[in-house]
Symmetry: C2
Subunit: 396 residues, 2 copies
């Protein structure tokens, strides 16, 4: 369903009925473009679910929003770029709280109905006055059209080079849309993932929660750019019920999952320094968990990633990474295929390296283990000079 991203109708969070959004310049990143977004659910329902980083060092907005989401209810989300509000202690938490209070005051609801998300540099205090003025400006700028959704999607960009939106109008009469930023969920670069998905379907919070966790598990959780996990990752799902349509639960889950996979692919394509989009597919593992572990180990291996940056079909490094992964492996049964060319059969060289075409941007690495039915795919990128350049000059 990646073709969704190119649908002209994909207008993001304002595509479903019942939602308004905006993006404004709050001055958090020193005037370098818009840096604060607001998404409002005008109802009639306000069901919501959230998935957050598993990092034990959680940013203040994550601590705030996790609490808020225990109610299964959200009226609005405030997001900012330029500062992560992480490692900022009680003062940072108070800033997150004050941000929610300000939005709640403007919307006539309680602060516990407002989630807050931040992305940017860790360890400096978020300028509270700028943020509160930004919330007021964002409230004044709220709109329900495509431009408003795009403005919100644009305001949360950090090292992203394009805004990332999805949208889907279901034949059953309900609509879903969303935006994302960053480079991954459980293992992003510091280009934290912030994602907001909205729908006008009539769905209860428990169903949203279950659907969102299931979708994230096979989408954002299977994108691994560099193995680093952010302090701020947040994926939120808000339902307004404005369509009046109760969707088939399975159909809703399937569409949500497809949209999340689409957003993960958009992040992969826009990852820091990427010159190759790499899919690592593992089959024949003892279990699905083992398949994920092995695919993730290969996807994170610096030597595999540099080899593919150099268009070198170095399957030996792939076999070595499979071997040191924390999963069941029989070294005499490993098959490795790169872009359709079988290079290693039963753990031994096979085929012709020269037959592998790595000139294009897309690389598919397939590992077959011959141990069971477990399979999984992890998306990653190469390790390039661009990655080193971008990440060695981020905070200075």
């Amino acid at each position: 369903m990646s073709e969704l991203a190119s649908e002209p109708s994909a207008q993001g969070v304002t595509q479903p009925q019942g939602f308004r959004a905006s993006g404004v310049v709050a001055g958090i990143r020193n005037g370098e473009g818009p840096d604060l977004a607001l998404v409002v659910n005008d109802g009639p329902q306000h069901a919501a679910a959230g998935v957050f980083t598993r990092n034990k060092v959680k940013a203040a907005p994550v601590l705030w929003s996790e609490q808020v989401l225990t109610t299964g209810r959200l009226r609005a989300v405030v997001l900012n770029a330029g500062n992560a509000n992480a490692c900022t202690g009680p003062e940072g938490f108070q800033t997150a709280h004050a941000t929610a209070e300000k939005a709640a005051e403007l919307l006539g609801c309680g602060a516990v109905e407002v989630a807050v998300c931040s992305t940017g540099l860790i360890g400096s205090q978020l300028p509270r006055d700028d943020v509160l003025e930004g919330v007021a400006a964002a409230h004044a700028a709220l709109g329900a059209d495509a431009a408003a959704g795009l403005a919100a999607a644009t305001a949360v960009m950090t090292t992203d080079t394009v805004a990332k939106q999805v949208g889907h109008a279901d034949p059953a009469g309900w609509t879903i849309g969303g935006f994302t930023k960053g480079a991954g969920m459980i293992a992003p670069s510091m280009a934290t993932t912030l994602t907001v998905v909205t729908t006008d379907a009539v769905v209860d919070a428990p169903v949203l929660d279950e659907a969102l966790r299931a979708a994230v598990r096979v989408s954002f959780d299977r994108l691994d750019i560099d193995g680093c996990m952010s302090t701020n990752d947040t994926v939120l799902l808000l339902a307004s019920g404005a369509s009046g349509v109760v969707p088939d639960t399975a159909a809703f889950r399937a569409v949500l999952t497809d949209l999340c996979k689409d957003m993960a692919r958009q992040m992969q394509a826009d990852a820091e320094g990427v010159t190759k989009r790499i899919a690592v597919r593992v089959a024949g593992a003892a279990t699905e968990d083992d398949a994920v572990t092995i695919a993730r180990t290969v996807a994170r291996d610096s030597l595999v990633k540099t080899a593919l940056f150099g268009s070198d079909p170095n399957w030996g490094r792939i076999a070595a990474a499979v071997g040191y992964s924390d999963a069941a492996v029989d070294p005499d049964r490993i098959d490795v295929t790169i872009n359709g060319v079988l290079l290693c059969r039963g753990g031994v060289a096979a085929g012709d390296r020269a037959a592998v075409d790595l000139k294009g941007a897309d690389i598919v690495v397939e590992v077959v283990l011959g141990l069971g039915d477990g399979e999984a795919e992890i998306l990653t990128t190469d390790l390039s000079h661009g990655y080193v350049e971008e990440n060695s000059a981020y905070s200075s």
Copy 2:
């Protein structure tokens, strides 16, 4: 004891009595210098111990040598660079066996008394005839002087830029020496670690084994350049007993450990693309294992490594890495110090980034957790353009 490396008397494996060595051109890496080394223990004793890669994909010489070492006895070691003899199936194993047979025939011993080590590209057959002729040439070239030890140390170099030797003459009357190559033990780059340590002390195989495992655990095992584990890593310890001196066991272990740490530091300083030598020290962890886990997670984090390459004291990335490590962490008790400047106290920004001097080649990252007495140090390097360059062009 790193000053050992610069002692003029550090002549490596031929420093102890009872050992001869050589290094010759066998043609394995197409005439680019010496590529085959031989180390012979002339006795009177032949006790030995070995530690090998934990990768489940083990090279043929590792499979061979692990079997050989179960006897606790070695007459000789044959080592080659230019080809890892990994993922080479039964043919590769037969080549390793034939190599040992050839050396055994020349030395008048059994093949099971000869270990074999290889390093280089994975997945192509080692040219057996070249290796066997190389063994004959190496046998003819054996010498007991410093030049012979250096010749062996030089023949196993791959991406190493300098030969790496250690040596120590103990006041108690016994001597120990060794060489190493590569960039780490359990987590090296494909610049596999091959290490041979020799001693003329009178030590039984079980004592050697225990001493070697203890030494490796706090030296090679605590060097982590890029998290990638080789198929070929091997550390061997051979004792000739030629000094006639039975060393104090604790003193022997201490010296062996110091020498292994010295070799690990030499590897760190010569790692691929290194511009910074980084020591990550964790204290106050719940356990030593937790301290190792946390230090290793920080040492492997691509964002930490690129920041330090850029001389950016980005402690937020360090705190984030601590947070996603698989160990007990209280986010409100994390202190982070870089090169003596406390930048994060109790999980919150402190001190002045600008006060951190990162211009030099050495960086010490200290993380204190306030949870217990566990502490550990992991040595690593930065992630530089040089690393990307070297590893994107290795096999082509």
